[in-house]
Each structure stands twice: as structure tokens, then as C-alpha cells.
């Protein structure tokens, strides 16, 4: 009887104890899981789960053969988490464990990255509760390896591709550059839609000691790289053009210079050289005026290279024939009293059209122009591309200026036909000569071949629609007339290339400042090779040279570039003989 009661009591006590302990657990459980659940969840997630932006590479800019003009390279941002920044133990190679304090870690970082200790300390202590702070940005792989070797647990390197221009200033005027993260000039700016990458986002989880928990990265959005932009430029030829232009511009003491080579059948630009121009790796190294492309942005009075356009227009309109004869006085007096002079003093002379072009007679050009009304003449200029931007649409491109016919006074009426009283860019002059070489059809001037996306699609293809400016006959006749400049003109020894037929036109334009023509000149030569069936148009211009102020200054450069065009693009020697036309009658 007693036994039974004792047993029952023991059982009861045990059960009570068990229930009591159980109750404590239940209360605690309810407290954590129900009462404080939300707070604790948010806290833990904030400490553990970190969101980050992932970066993909910006698209490359390549030349027509695929040489990289602007590329993306691996660079790394070194970030830290100030809220888990603590001293840690490091196990050395010999197995010895040393305690590394935060200050020591900062000193080591400073030594490896080159940023000062003060800067790093300030960045990390600015907001001690923050999850994220930059130690330094954009370090190369070497530095990253050294930082990884330091094994600091609260340092998280992140990939963030950087921009490099391995060919330096080659096509630097065209490619442009980036300002910190945004494009600043050139094709980098205008084709940004093609080139820019899209950032992605991902989250990862981190333990309290700061170590990234492996396998916890969740990518919310993949980062998308940019497309590859292919230019029409040939980079080796562009180097040669820039080197030659720089050498000769410096030798002449010119303020500026441009050089353009265009493929005649499709209007693709082979080279566009500017002096001075920029190395995108070192944007601060040149004055701000040199950051763009003068060939597109800066109009000037082009001078006698426009006479070829005038002659082609008159031939097309039927106003003159290729063997037209004209008596050129030594001075042309206008009814209002103004005069038009030629570049050199001469008595009255009887020139043919070939003679007018070869001797670059302003008076002769004016007399020929009288045979066509001014509206028709200006229409031809518009068809040749003047007063409009070229199809390139370069950053900061200028459309030039030709006054409306209603504003032409007697002098302007003639002056626009020999390249004064109007403004063109080098690109427009190149386009005119491309038209003349292409049987009178002006093709859209093209710099961008296309934007190649990673999935293989190609966008931004250039237009192939031409505009007919003059008939094929008129264009071919004009090129034939221009050949006489090279074979019989005053610069023929400087311009002739044995075995090849070359057509060219010189230009020595007066420069106006403050409404008055000064003694400065813009000298240029524009030409086509090979003359019997033109493949390339070449325009070389020097602005305000000091040593030689006639187009004779340009001849050596023109010849060197034409030689190089022949070599680079494998132009075969001419099989037909030049036709020398009579210059006088």
C-alpha cells in the first residue's frame, strides 16, 4: 500500500518537473518565433545578406580588321565592410598564427595599393555601421593578387572592368574617351547605345566573421556586356597618316592640319588624321581644343580645291565643254568696282578649262561660272554635300556655310566658285572628291561599319544610298582635267608618282579674321588615285603654316600619303598612258 503511494508520488513529481521545463521552452519559443520574429529576422538578414551590383564589360571599338582601338580590361574595386571590421589571426607559412590589428591591415593595404593610410582610414571609419565602403578602385590583376595574399577577411574585391586604349592616340580623335564613368567625346559618346553594358545585381550571404558564405550567391539579374563597334578605319594606315601629318605640320609651323582618305565606291573612311589630337589614355595632356576631330568640327574657307566642283557642275549643266576656251585678263574688274585677282601676276592669257584648273585661275573660274545662273550653281553645291553635315554625324560636326543666293553680292557670286566666301569642313571636301571619283554619285560618308552584339546580330549598318550630284561623264571629265595638275602643273615634279596616274587639285585659301583677309593661308591638296579609275580620294590640309604659305607646302605630304595608299591598298600601276591636254589655245 505504502509502496504504491510512494511510487505514485515519485511519478507525479517527475511529470511535474518535465512539464515545468517544457513550459519554459514553450514560452521561450513563443517569445522568439512569434513575439520578436520580425525584428530578429530583419536584423539577421541585414547582417548576413548583402546586395551588390555586378558589372559587365563595355563593348570594344575595333578598326576594320579587328584591331582593338578601345577595349575593356579586368580591373577590380577593393571594398570593405566597416561593420565587421576587426582584428583577425593570420596563419603564416611556417604555421605561426599572428594577430593582425585593423591598423596593421590598413597599413598593409596602403602599401599594396598606393593609397595613403589616412585616406583608407577615413573611408573605413566614416560610417562604422555601413556594410560597404571603397578602399580603392580600379586596381589591376597584380595588385589584386597581392591583396588576396593578405587574406583580410573583411575585404571583398569586386570585378569592375576598366577602359584601355592599347593603340594610344591612333584614331584617338575619332574614338574619343571616357570621363570617369561616362563617355566624354567621339564615337564613345555618339555610339554609347551600342557600347554601354547593363549592370546586373546579385545578393550573397556573409557570416559574422565577415567570410563570404560559399554557394550563397544568388544572381537576380545577369550583367549584359556592350556590343563591339567596328570602324571603317585601317589602324596601321591611320598611324602612318598621323605620324606624317604631325611631322609635316610641325615642320611647317601650322596651327592645325587634317588628312582624310576615303574609299570612293562606298564612302568609307580609311583614315582621318587631325593635328593636334588626343591620346585617350592621357586626356589632360592636350588643350581642350584638341579633344575632338577638327576634320569634322572646324569649317574654313577651302579655296581652290572647290574649282573642281565648279567645273564638274558646269560640265554637267552643259554650260561648258571640257575643251572650252576662255580669255583670262590679268585682273577682273566687277561692275561695282571690286576686283578679282589670280594667285600670280600674269598678262592676258588664253586658257582652256584644263589650263584654268592647272594654273588655278580665279579669274578663269569666274568667267566660266558666268555661263550658269547662281541658283543652279548653288544647287550643285548642295548636291555635292555643302551646307549639310555628312552622314557620319560626328560629335560636334559642323554643316559649314554657303550664303543663300539672295545674299550674294557680285564678289560672292564668283568667290564661292573658287572656295572663298563660304565655309566647309575637311569632311565635306573629302566627300566632294569622293563624288568626283565615283562617277558623280555622292555616297554617305561612313565611319561606323556596324555594332556587333554578343549574340551575333549586327546593328547600326551604314546606309548605301548615294545621291547623284553630276553625271558620270561630267565627273570623269573633271578627273581627267585634274590629272593635268599633276602632269603639267607647277608642282608636277613634287606630285608625280612613277607608274601611277594621279589626279589632284591644289588650294591656297585666304583666311579672314575680323572681316578682313590676313596674310595667313589654309593650304590643301585634294586628289584621286588611280586617275583612270579612282579608288581613293585623299585630302590634306594645313591651317596657317608659317614657313611656306602656298600649296607647295602640302605636296610632299600628299605624295607620301598617296604612296602609302598605293602600298596599303595594293593599287596596281596604271596600264594606260596619261592624256596631257593643252592648257592654252
Amino acid at each position: 500500500m505504502n509502496n504504491a503511494r510512494r511510487t505514485k508520488r515519485r511519478v507525479a513529481v517527475t511529470v511535474l518537473l518535465v512539464v515545468a521545463v517544457f513550459a519554459v521552452f514553450v514560452v521561450r519559443l513563443v517569445d522568439i518565433q512569434v513575439v520578436r520574429a520580425d525584428d530578429l529576422n530583419t536584423d539577421s538578414l541585414a547582417k548576413r545578406s548583402i546586395a551588390e551590383t555586378t558589372y559587365a564589360a563595355r563593348g570594344d571599338i575595333v578598326d576594320t580588321d579587328g584591331n582593338v582601338l578601345a577595349g575593356s580590361v579586368d580591373r577590380f574595386d577593393i571594398t570593405a565592410a566597416p561593420n565587421v571590421m576587426n582584428s583577425f589571426t593570420r596563419t603564416g607559412d611556417d604555421g605561426v598564427r599572428t594577430e593582425v590589428t585593423v591598423e596593421q591591415a590598413i597599413a598593409e593595404l596602403s602599401e599594396v595599393t598606393g593609397t595613403s593610410v589616412a585616406e583608407i582610414t577615413e573611408a573605413l571609419t566614416e560610417n562604422p555601421e555601413a556594410n560597404f565602403a571603397y578602399v580603392t578602385r580600379s586596381v589591376p590583376l597584380e595588385t589584386l593578387k597581392k591583396i588576396n595574399a593578405l587574406a583580410i577577411p573583411w575585404i571583398y574585391p569586386r570585378s569592375n572592368p576598366g577602359r584601355t586604349y592599347p593603340n594610344g592616340a591612333i584614331a584617338g580623335n575619332l574614338v574619343g574617351f571616357l570621363n570617369t564613368d561616362n563617355p566624354g567625346a567621339g564615337v564613345e559618346l555618339t555610339e554609347n547605345d551600342c557600347l554601354s553594358s547593363t549592370n546586373g545585381s546579385s545578393t550573397y550571404e556573409r557570416g559574422s566573421d565577415g567570410i563570404r558564405i560559399p554557394g550563397s550567391t544568388v544572381t537576380a539579374e545577369e550583367a549584359q556586356p556592350g556590343g563591339k563597334l567596328r570602324l571603317t578605319i585601317n589602324s596601321d594606315f591611320q598611324w602612318y597618316s598621323q605620324q606624317t601629318l604631325n611631322e609635316d605640320a610641325q615642320a611647317l609651323g601650322a596651327d592645325w592640319a587634317t588628312l582624310m582618305v576615303v574609299r570612293v565606291n562606298d564612302g568609307h573612311l580609311m583614315a582621318v588624321a587631325d593635328y593636334p589630337s588626343v591620346d585617350p589614355n592621357n586626356v589632360d595632356g592636350v588643350p581642350t581644343t584638341a579633344l575632338g576631330s577638327l576634320a569634322f568640327s572646324t569649317p574654313y574657307e577651302p579655296g581652290s580645291t572647290m574649282k573642281a566642283m565648279t567645273v564638274a557642275s558646269l560640265l554637267d549643266a552643259g554650260a561648258i565643254s571640257p575643251t572650252e576656251r576662255v580669255s583670262v585678263p590679268s585682273l577682273l574688274t566687277l561692275p561695282s568696282g571690286g576686283t578679282i585677282k589670280d594667285a600670280f601676276v600674269h598678262p592676258d592669257v588664253r586658257y582652256t578649262v584644263a589650263g584654268v584648273l592647272t594654273n588655278s585661275s580665279n579669274i578663269g573660274t569666274s568667267l566660266l561660272s558666268e555661263k550658269l545662273n547662281k541658283d543652279a550653281r548653288r544647287d550643285y553645291m548642295v548636291k555635292f554635300g555643302l551646307t549639310q553635315r555628312t552622314a557620319v554625324g560626328f560629335n560636334g560636326e559642323s554643316p559649314g556655310y554657303v550664303p543663300e543666293t539672295k545674299n550674294w553680292d557680285e564678289r560672292t557670286n564668283f568667290a564661292v566658285q573658287f572656295g572663298q566666301a563660304e565655309q566647309t569642313t575637311s569632311a565635306q571636301v573629302a566627300s566632294i572628291y569622293q563624288t568626283l571619283g565615283n562617277g558623280g554619285v555622292r555616297m554617305p560618308l561612313t565611319l561606323v561599319e556596324g555594332c556587333e552584339w554578343p549574340d551575333g546580330t549586327v546593328t547600326d549598318l551604314p546606309s548605301t544610298e548615294g545621291v547623284r550630284a553630276v553625271s558620270e561623264t561630267a565627273a570623269d571629265q573633271t578627273v581627267g582635267l585634274m590629272e593635268n595638275v599633276v602632269t603639267q602643273g607647277s608642282l608636277s615634279s613634287a606630285l608625280s608618282i612613277p607608274g601611277y596616274r594621279v589626279a589632284a587639285k591644289t588650294g591656297t585659301a585666304e583666311v579672314a579674321e575680323g572681316g578682313v583677309y590676313t596674310s595667313d593661308r589654309v593650304v590643301s591638296i585634294a586628289g584621286l588615285v588611280p586617275a583612270e579609275n579612282p579608288e581613293y580620294a585623299i585630302v590634306v590640309t594645313f591651317g596657317k603654316p608659317d614657313t611656306i604659305k602656298t600649296s607647295a607646302a602640302v605636296a610632299p605630304t600628299f605624295k607620301k600619303i598617296t604612296n602609302q595608299v598605293i602600298k596599303t591598298f595594293r593599287i596596281e600601276p596604271s596600264t594606260t598612258a596619261t592624256v596631257k591636254m593643252p592648257l592654252t589655245w
Binding site: N67, V68, G71, V73, D74, P140, L141, E142, T164, Y165, P166, N167, G168, A169, I170, G172, P214, S235, D236, W239, Y240, Q242, Q243, N246, E247, Q250, D279, N281, N282, G285, I497, P498, G499, Y500, K560, N563, I566, K567, R570, E572, P573
Partner: protein
């Protein structure tokens, strides 16, 4: 006459055992009993499975670790390759090639172009000897490349003649023909700069 009423009963032997009574199992019962072997096999099988699963998961985990290690290695090698490609692109830039060609004594020809047609070996155009103009000229390479500074110039072998002074003495002197011992010339990064010696 005795009147003893007690009488002796026969003694039992003390060692006389109690009859040992045992229930003997019948043959049917014996047959019905499970054999020990089966139990041993089952338990051993269970253990074997258990251990096999343990070993497999160890191997899988090990494989996962080596995958992770190899992926890291691949990523690191990929980065090395990109860093080396970066350097290669730089060395392939025309500025570097032109300056190095000059340093090796190569000449640029400004004479009229001539071609060798490989199909029939004919020479097309007027062939003439190189006129000795230098590749980058007295002013040096004028097309800047900021990234190039510090790349040493290739020098021709010691027994080959340096740039012939008779051809263009100003160039030979100005370009710093690499004959000074101990000074390694480097490709200039700024235009017009003469090749500069590496300072230590």
C-alpha cells in the same frame, strides 16, 4: 519381544539426481525457428549500406571541393590570360613597332611603290633601293601612347653595324643609337620625346 514400531525405510542415495525434466522442441518448432545467419547477413548488409553511403557522400563532397578549386583556378588563369593579352595589344601597337623597327636599323622607303606578284614572280611597278629614310624620323614617334612608357627598345646584335652615320647623321645621333653600354633605351610614351634610358 521387542515392541519397536519404527522401521527403516531404504536410504536414498544423496547423489541421486532429481530427474532433469526438459521440454524438448519438436521438429516443427525447430524448423520454425529463424536461423542466426539470416540475422547476421541483414545487419551486416545494413552496416555495409550505411558505410557505403558515407563513403559516397565523402567522395561527392571531395569532388565538389575539387570542382570549386578547379573553377577558381580557371578563373585565375583566365584573368592572367586577359592581363597578358592587354600587354600584347600594347606591344603590337604601331607606335611600339615603328620605334622598335627604327632601333633595329630598319628603314622606311619613300620611293615609288613596287610589288612582287607571287603568282608569276613578276615585279610590278618601278623597283628601287630603299632611300634610307628612317621609320620615325629625327623627331621620333609623334603619335602618343601613354601606356607605352617603359618598354625597353630592342637592340640589334652587338656585331651588326649600328645605323650607318653616313645615311643621316642627325638621326643617328638624335635617336640615340643603342651603343652606350649599360643604358637600356625605352619606347617614349609622349610624342616627340627621344627614347629615354631606364633609370634605376
Amino acid at each position: 519381544m521387542s515392541s519397536n514400531l519404527a522401521f527403516a525405510t531404504p536410504l536414498r542415495s544423496p547423489r541421486e539426481e532429481q530427474p532433469h525434466i526438459e521440454i524438448v522442441s519438436t521438429r516443427e518448432q525447430r524448423r520454425a525457428r529463424p536461423r542466426v545467419v539470416y540475422a547476421l547477413v541483414t545487419v551486416a548488409g545494413l552496416f555495409a549500406l550505411f558505410i557505403a553511403q558515407l563513403l559516397l557522400s565523402i567522395v561527392v563532397a571531395d569532388g565538389a571541393y575539387s570542382i570549386s578549386a578547379l573553377q577558381s583556378q580557371q578563373r585565375d588563369l583566365g584573368r592572367e590570360e586577359k592581363a597578358l593579352s592587354e600587354q600584347l595589344d600594347l606591344l603590337a601597337s604601331p607606335q611600339n613597332l615603328a620605334t622598335q623597327a627604327e632601333s633595329l636599323g630598319m628603314l622606311r622607303s619613300s620611293t615609288s611603290p613596287a610589288f612582287l606578284r607571287l603568282s608569276d614572280g613578276a615585279i610590278v611597278g618601278e623597283a628601287s633601293a630603299a632611300d634610307g629614310s628612317v621609320v620615325v624620323g629625327a623627331a621620333g614617334n609623334l603619335v602618343a601612347n601613354e601606356l607605352l612608357g617603359g618598354i625597353p627598345l630592342v637592340t640589334p646584335p652587338a656585331d651588326a653595324a649600328a645605323v650607318d652615320p653616313a645615311v643621316d647623321p642627325s638621326v643617328a645621333a638624335a635617336a640615340g643609337a643603342p651603343t652606350s653600354p649599360g643604358a637600356i633605351e625605352t619606347v617614349p610614351s609622349t610624342p616627340g620625346a627621344l627614347p629615354s634610358p631606364v633609370t634605376r
